[in-house]
Symmetry: C2
Subunit: 427 residues, 2 copies
Amino acid sequence: MNIPRTSLPRVVIIGGGFAGISLAKQLGKQEIQAVLIDKHNYHTFQPLLYQVSTGGLEPDSIAYPIRKIVKDYPNFSFRLTNVDAIDTENKCVHTDIGDLNYDQLIIATGSNTNFFGNSEIEKHSMAMKTIPQSLNLRSLILENFEQAILKSDLEERNALMNFIIVGAGPTGVELAGALAEIKKGILPKDYPDLDIRQMKINLIQSSSRILPAMSEIASEKAEDYLQGLGVDVWKNLRVTNYDGDLASTNGDVSFRAATLIWSAGVKGATIAGLDGEEFITKGNRIIVNEFNQVKGFDDIYALGDIAAMQSEAYPFGHPMMAQPAIQQGKHLGKNLARKLNGKEMKPFNYRDKGSMATVGRNKAVVDLPRFKFQGVFAWFVWMFVHLFFLIGFRNRMVVFINWVYNYIRFDREARLIIRPYKNTRKS
Amino acid sequence: MNIPRTSLPRVVIIGGGFAGISLAKQLGKQEIQAVLIDKHNYHTFQPLLYQVSTGGLEPDSIAYPIRKIVKDYPNFSFRLTNVDAIDTENKCVHTDIGDLNYDQLIIATGSNTNFFGNSEIEKHSMAMKTIPQSLNLRSLILENFEQAILKSDLEERNALMNFIIVGAGPTGVELAGALAEIKKGILPKDYPDLDIRQMKINLIQSSSRILPAMSEIASEKAEDYLQGLGVDVWKNLRVTNYDGDLASTNGDVSFRAATLIWSAGVKGATIAGLDGEEFITKGNRIIVNEFNQVKGFDDIYALGDIAAMQSEAYPFGHPMMAQPAIQQGKHLGKNLARKLNGKEMKPFNYRDKGSMATVGRNKAVVDLPRFKFQGVFAWFVWMFVHLFFLIGFRNRMVVFINWVYNYIRFDREARLIIRPYKNTRKS
């Protein structure tokens, strides 16, 4: 991998997501030799991927070059590669560009879409965890409208204009809301040949309320908002199969739809060498102690979505979201500094800052630890918080301008089929 | 194609480039039934593609949804499709989504990269006529740097950091300048492991000066600027072959390079049914009269790059650039209105507004009909003109902000490998 070993302890970080970048920022000035590895050369701001899928934002404004982050840290190197396996005995990471030895290893590989073993659904549905996936979805939505115009058969046309979203967590809810705004604001203008009433957005949730991780009032309000926007919300319903055309459920309904977006869950992105049963718990996550150390090692740590730090308050680990990842990254950075200076590490304490979801213009729900609110103010808070956590001044400016523009004009201009999805899928 | 015929005369426009859009804007309010066809759902602002390739702008800000343009014209329809052939006898366009009859047909298909029959060069080199091509080049440039770090063999590393640009028209010159700015501003910060001196930019021109279509003073100044930025300019040299590694020439030099960008020429994008020898002249262009009518037809027109309107001043037709396309589109729009109202059409007169090229920050050359200038002011004029001709307020804002940011920070933040090019090429 062409990284000569120095006399400094070598810290290898796998993954440049929220956890990895938060850790890197903390370790930036430390006396270590750090190597950050990722399979992309950019950090993705995942909470806004749904806006890329729906033409509200360009992909480049929610991505940030990892090299631009680590360039300020003289002891950091970055390598663009896939990790094949970890050899804990020889303290070595095997990658497709060679081996890399470590003194301290941090696993911040995040999570992948969880299809719960249903390969038929995996094959035919759209996921939304990466920028290429979001761009594929953007292309598909627009391609479906273009195709719908050409169909004289009503059933075929309806299927092309029917969007099924499985899973009503924040991603599913936000995507449903954005599609509803496309139906209202874009469809009648761009596609006067199509009957707006034929576009259906079905949001399907297996449990008894949407946004199940939020408060009941948030769930209720969000559902009200969605219904007001014309989204059909289905609760206590589970999609059991999807063949690219027909989505079957455990209830007595089924849906004909050309598009099914799967946002029903994620699972830890494990790595060979640390994926033995003794390491892994529910959701494919690696069990860690209160210092984020992997069971049985004092030199291997796991952070963020991939790490399950089980406690009384969080028996299955912290929620797989940005906040625990950011906080764990920062905390581990401080702990590693303590350790390098011969001091004791401190246990991690999660500070739940609350959670939020937006449904559409002027419509959001916010749960703070002390109080909960919904509506216009919640929507402003949602925007402010997302702008604040975006990396990079230019990205913030461009996102801000797009939001102002979209708000004033009821528009989403990035409705571009730059790489057709259907052609890609065929080949 | 699901477009019922109305009693109005049907005008079919093939191509949503500068010519097609300029015509559409002119015909927007006419009493016709117009159908605009393009293989993309967006208009591309081609003069700024090189900035997409070099990470200065996001692709979405130089593309504009065609449906958003024609939605204001009640008599316009848009169809996303490829044209297979034209049947002039039955006045019909064959496409991959069905046939379309026309009363008046306008061919505004533009041009493709001209490899002058060398399939080896075509296979291995990068073109830059479309947004996907520009994004492929962006990925490749960055992938090459990532790979160069890993090579201990000096020759291999040099080849990965050697960029050959063939053809020193505006595109080649602007790309060379942008790569030089990457070498100076990005490479040392992002890739401290690489020796900046190993990055070479070779600009190769077959004739005796660069920017041959511009004034001699512009050529000289541009060459000065490029040399100041560290670009190696080769004149009177022709690349005869390229196998993906070695570029041979008609001189006694050859180059080992992992990247060769071909900007040495374009040729008209002809259509079956109108590609007979009697219609076509030099550069694969369709011969048209002074009303843009194709020889032998009074209901078929060609516009822009694809059209060769031969005159004393322009014996081979107008230059294949945005300005003639825009002016011809506008003029034909007026002529068609005259024709529909039973009036005489007027011959087209090209108003040469001059030409310009930018080399880098504060460095551009401008040839106006009355005077020529270079340097900082030329650079501002270049930027102003390009912002002015961009379609869409949001695009202008986003491009402007990126330019201000890039100028102040000596930066180009869109250095993202969103879809790896090398993996795509392999598969």
